[in-house]
């Protein structure tokens, strides 16, 4: 019986596994296997709001067993090596799994330790549940001063997230009545706060209105924790009382070990077929790829359709013709109740209509968790 293996069960892997399971429900001729060490799935987009509220993190979590369809076998382990010549995957305990078709969905590895920081340094982020609880405490204790926000590398997950964080932080400090005692500085590696120029211009206008200082071309070099300064490769520096830095992102060790990645360990993937370079039986989806699209759930969602269609075509011995066009849909939060809706692809910039900051979009972003668990990750939409 052919075996379809999905390596990594985050948003992308679970979506693919469930979509395949739905399509192949009545055809029992394929075994679907998911390799994922975790028991719980975290709704990452929710992390953006949690530094500013008191809700328990458990509200963002759901057991994988409740998300995954019954006709998918879940192997709770980490993979250490993909032998693409012999179509075998080695697991941490030494066991070997065969595959006929493989989908890599291993996400990114956050290299927090490479920053060399301790809890006392007042340097935080909101890209994991643990870190989000810490930044929540730091913000509670914050009485005024300089807050500096900066990504340490590009690419990082969800390109607008640091900008959105800055907007929500501005609102939070106003609520706490310490905004007038606080400078918010946004340091960015690129010349604009968003890659697409029309969107960047809108953001800069709002930054100005809200008194958020923007500094372009600030590529992180190091942090001097003793005198609380962040230094850039361009030779600039900024003082902070609280520093929000998005940790460096790299591909996972299993990709590096298997020779399927670029210099940073991101899987070398064709941006249209989503096939791994030189590998007819391997696809890659989600944050783990090197395609020039956002590292975002929405990209994984639209890519998943393409991969599943092509896998079914191959099973039916037909030409796999589905292609990914870079479609990305993204709500960019500008306050707790408003957001822009951006709809773009490789060839299409966001339309003007999507650039209005509407309340309805703000509400939709907040309610998105229901759609995420109810329809998207279950493979129904």
């Amino acid at each position: 019986m052919p075996i379809a293996v999905i390596l990594g069960g985050g948003f992308a892997g679970l979506t693919i596994a469930n979509k395949l399971a739905i399509k192949l429900k009545k055809r029992k001729e394929v075994e679907i296997v998911l390799i994922e060490p975790a028991d719980l799935h975290l709704y990452e987009p929710g992390l953006l709001y949690y530094p500013f509220n008191d809700k328990p993190m458990s509200k963002l979590e759901k057991p994988i067993s409740k998300i995954l369809r019954k006709n998918v076998k879940h192997i709770k382990q980490k993979a250490t090596k993909i032998d693409h010549e012999n179509k075998k995957i080695t697991l941490e305990d030494g066991k070997v799994i065969d595959y006929n078709c493989l989908v890599i969905a291993t996400g990114v590895d956050l290299k927090e330790e490479s920053l060399g920081l301790t809890d006392k340094d007042n340097v935080h982020h909101f890209y994991s549940a643990e870190a989000t609880l810490k930044i929540r405490e730091a913000l509670k204790n914050f009485k005024g001063g300089n807050i500096v926000i900066s990504p340490s590398t590009v690419p990082y997950k969800c390109p607008p997230a640091p900008v959105e964080f800055a907007f929500l932080l501005d609102e939070y400090l106003r609520r706490k009545k310490i905004r007038d005692k606080t400078n918010i500085k946004f340091l960015y590696p690129l010349p604009r706060p968003f890659n697409i120029r029309v969107v960047a211009a809108k953001i800069l206008k709002l930054f100005e209105k809200k008194g958020i200082e923007f500094e372009p071309f600030f590529n992180y070099d190091k942090i001097n924790t003793e005198n609380k300064k962040i230094l850039s490769f361009e030779g600039d520096k900024a003082s902070y009382d609280l520093l929000v830095i998005i940790p460096p992102h790299e591909g996972q060790d299993v990709i590096k070990e298997s020779g399927l990645g670029d210099k940073e360990g991101f899987v070398i993937t064709d941006r249209e077929t989503l096939q791994v370079e030189g590998q007819k039986s391997i696809y890659a989806v989600g944050d783990c790829t090197n395609i020039p699209a956002s590292k975002a759930g929405t990209v994984a969602h639209f890519s998943a359709d393409v991969i599943v269609k092509n896998m079914i075509s191959k099973l039916d011995e037909k030409e796999p013709t589905a292609r990914y066009d870079g479609k990305t849909l993204c709500f960019l939060v500008t306050s707790s109740s408003k957001s822009f809706l951006l709809d773009f692809s490789f060839k299409k910039e966001p339309r003007k209509i999507g650039l209005h900051s509407w309340r309805i979009y703000g509400i939709m972003k907040k309610l998105f968790q229901y759609l995420y668990f109810g329809g998207l990750i279950t493979g129904r939409i």
Partner: protein, 79 residues
């Protein structure tokens, strides 16, 4: 005309903005003062972004050569 020998050459053709600029930044990080780094890019945005970054970081843009369907940027690491 500056006499130079390219130390690192990066072919960023096919990579989209900000890819070529980020590739250049990475190469400059890895090179020595006085090295000449070359980036090939067919992304139109690079024509603005790469010179702007070089000016900001106070390195030297030695030349921008227009080839048939891409641009070649030659940069000297000055510090």
């Amino acid at each position: 005309m500056v006499d130079y020998e390219i130390t690192i050459s990066i072919d960023a053709r096919g990579s989209f903005c900000p890819g070529p600029m980020m590739e250049l930044i990475k190469a400059i990080r890895q090179s020595e003062v006085g090295d000449f780094v070359e980036v090939l890019s067919n992304d139109e945005g690079s024509l603005q972004d790469i010179p702007a970054w070089i000016a900001k970081a106070k390195h030297e843009l030695i030349d921008t050569v227009k080839e048939a369907d891409f641009n070649r940027f030659i940069v000297k690491k000055t510090w």
